[in-house]
């Protein structure tokens, strides 16, 4: 087949749709030559979104949004459907990639102050997109309709319910009723596959349109702060002189990076697999330990660290103030220096934010605030003997749940203080008072422990950290 008929067909189509007239000039618009590798994150976010749309549509072909059928369909996708496992994994890791890339993209834009004149609305539309992406990530976690998913909606509804006055209305709206159940999952499904994607598509359209309108920003020049009076002219002048066409001179970097991202997503999916499904979504089952996906874990950790008085304000304040602060940022500062070297506060904010995120996330994974229901009894090697009152005391530590929260020589939970050396620190009377009356974050045990049991426990605790060869003085024990 000669090339001619092909060419003729393409020309016919091109003449009708106007690809060369309308699309090509956009693709070839001039961009600053200084852009280079800094600018690859935005397009990679878009690429991750395309992966999400595609894998999401495929998954929707087998996913049943309703009651226990949802769980069954997930099990089917994961275990039976050909390549279902890979698709689920790609959708999961694609979500992580999208959240991560969107945030990195935002940090880059922030560090280079690209949000300043005339690109304020580029930033604002981006902030809206970021929050909708987080909404996608959150609703997506719930569409994994297992025990964790069910309890995560409950937690979300409870958090929303703290809003003054309209709290219950919002909570009932989220749950689609007064409890988490069948109507909750269908609601989240509609949000996740119709409403939010529609907003994202529209948002991306606007975001791109604004990029075309104002041009891609240059690398900041410490000697050339933004002056709204002259910026556009100068930019135009420079770009005509030194700009390069986006396609293909600047775009190849984006394509290389996006390719790498897609392979990472695929690789994670194949080698790590999709997240395992918890037990079925039974809201009456208590054997769940609700934990959010990693990008929300820091927030979960914050909630467990706060004094109760502040909590409600933080639950509601962080997302709302976070949004308002970010959204209106270019309104507060839309001119002046762009170079990071001239904006130490910007650098400080990013470093502080990243460190806080990291520390809180690690803290989130360690979850030391939670009673550890699965602790084992103390072994004889720790107790120092395998019989007698000492061992009885050690056993009671387990039976009475002390070990759920207190660690002794590496055995036990971390909610409360470690007791490995407690015998050195507290006297018998101190211990008795604390166990009986409780105190800061410790329940009072007076009503659920007999005096014999109490003394066995205290005798045992007094040996902790004390030289085991010394005879233990039980002077005032019964």
């Amino acid at each position: 087949m000669s090339k001619k008929p092909l060419m003729r067909t393409w020309n016919w189509i091109d003449n009708r749709i106007g690809f060369s007239d309308y699309i090509m000039p956009l693709m070839e618009h001039l961009v600053p030559d200084s852009a280079r590798w800094w600018y690859i994150f935005g397009s990679a976010t878009l690429c991750a979104f395309i992966v999400q749309v595609f894998t999401g549509i495929c998954l929707a072909m087998a996913y049943v949004p309703g009651g226990e059928k949802t769980y069954e369909s997930l099990v089917y996708i994961t275990n039976t459907a050909p390549l279902g496992n890979v698709l689920r994994g790609m959708h999961y890791y694609g979500a992580s990639a999208m959240v991560m890339l969107a945030v990195i993209h935002m940090i880059q834009v922030y560090m280079h102050a690209t949000y300043k004149y005339p690109r304020e609305m580029n930033w604002m539309s981006g902030v809206v997109l970021l929050f909708v992406v987080l909404g996608m990530a959150f609703t997506g976690q719930l569409l994994r309709w297992d025990a964790n998913g069910v309890w995560s909606v409950t937690v979300a509804a409870e958090m929303a319910g703290r809003t003054p006055i309209i709290g219950p209305t919002i909570a009932h709206f989220i749950m689609g009723g007064e409890t988490v159940g069948g109507s909750t999952i269908t609601r989240f499904f509609a949000m996740h596959v119709f409403i939010m994607p529609a907003i994202i598509f529209a948002g991306i359209g606007l975001h791109m349109l604004l990029i075309m309108r104002h041009g891609i920003s240059e690398m900041p020049d410490p000697n050339d702060p933004v002056d709204p009076e002259t910026y556009k002219e100068k930019y135009e002048e420079r770009i005509q002189k030194t700009g390069v066409p986006f396609w293909p001179v600047a775009m190849w970097r984006d394509v290389i990076f996006s390719t790498a991202i897609v392979f990472v997503i695929l690789g994670c999916s194949i080698f790590l697999g999709p997240p395992t499904l918890d037990p079925p979504p039974n809201p009456s089952s208590i054997n769940a330990n609700p934990l959010p996906d990693w990008y929300f874990l820091w927030y979960f950790a914050v909630l467990s660290l706060l004094p109760p008085k502040l909590e409600t304000w933080v639950i509601l304040g962080v997302p709302i103030l976070g949004f308002i602060g970010l959204f209106f940022l270019p309104m507060i500062s839309n001119k002046g220096h762009r170079a990071p070297s001239k904006r130490p506060w910007a650098g400080g904010t990013v470093i502080f934010g990243s460190v806080a995120f990291l520390v809180l996330t690690i803290y989130g994974y360690k979850k030391p605030w939670s009673p550890d229901f699965g602790v084992k009894e103390l072994p004889a090697s720790v107790v120092g003997t395998d019989q007698g009152p000492l061992m009885q005391g050690a056993k009671l530590m387990h039976i009475k749940g002390c070990l759920y929260c207190h660690d002794i020589s590496g055995y036990g939970g971390h909610r409360g203080p470690e007791l490995t050396e407690i015998g050195k620190l507290l006297t018998r009377d101190d211990l008795i008072i604390r166990i009986n009356n409780g105190g800061h974050n410790m329940p009072a045990f007076a009503s659920s422990i007999s005096s014999d049991e109490l003394h066995l426990i205290v005798d045992f605790l007094l040996t902790r950290g004390v030289d085991q060869d010394q005879p233990i003085l039980n002077g005032d024990s019964p």
Partner: protein
């Protein structure tokens, strides 16, 4: 060319008026279309917020199944379940036979952020796996972040059946003082 043509019979302001009228007409009618389509949709979506389902009595077991002792977990159907809910229509409660005739029941939802609390028999405490909330056996807070005691549920004995009154998931509300 438009400008070269002899102008239409109507004077210009009349034409202008006509354009303004048509523009307004189109905008208003579009708004009407929007409202007409949106009202049933929004009503449908918001209905669960305003519909207050009546709480219902749900059987959770025979009287003789309960011994006077610690709490046991019971499951029953929630009061507002939809036809396709299946297993997700279930609700749980901790129930205890305090004496021959007296029952105590608590919702399993922690009053902090709603995680499912567990009854631990020996220390006689409810513990929450999420942020370390702990409650005594009477439902009052023993430790941790929960701001309120566990929600008490109504229990009754009906023809030898123990029944629990199922209702909404308890929410901890922010009171404005």
């Amino acid at each position: 060319m438009n400008s070269d043509q002899p102008s239409t019979e109507k004077p210009c302001c009349q034409q202008q008026q006509r354009r303004t009228f048509l523009a307004r007409l189109s905008i208003w009618l579009s708004a009407v279309i929007g409202v007409v389509v949106a009202i049933p949709g929004i009503g449908f979506v918001l209905a669960p917020v305003f519909k207050k389902p009546k709480s219902k009595w749900r059987p959770v077991g025979k009287l003789e199944d309960f011994k006077v002792d610690g709490f046991v977990l019971v499951q029953y159907e929630d009061s507002s379940s939809v036809a396709w809910a299946g297993i997700t229509a279930k609700e749980g409660a901790w129930i205890r036979r305090a004496s021959e005739t007296e029952f105590i029941a608590f919702s399993i939802n922690c009053r902090h952020l709603g995680c499912p609390v567990r009854w631990v028999d020996d220390p006689r405490l409810f513990m929450c796996p999420c942020h370390g909330g702990v409650y005594y056996e009477d439902g009052t807070v023993a430790a941790g972040p929960p701001p309120e005691p566990l929600k008490r549920l109504q229990v009754r004995i009906n023809n030898g059946q123990v029944e629990i009154e199922s209702g909404p998931t308890p929410l901890t509300l922010t009171k404005i003082t």
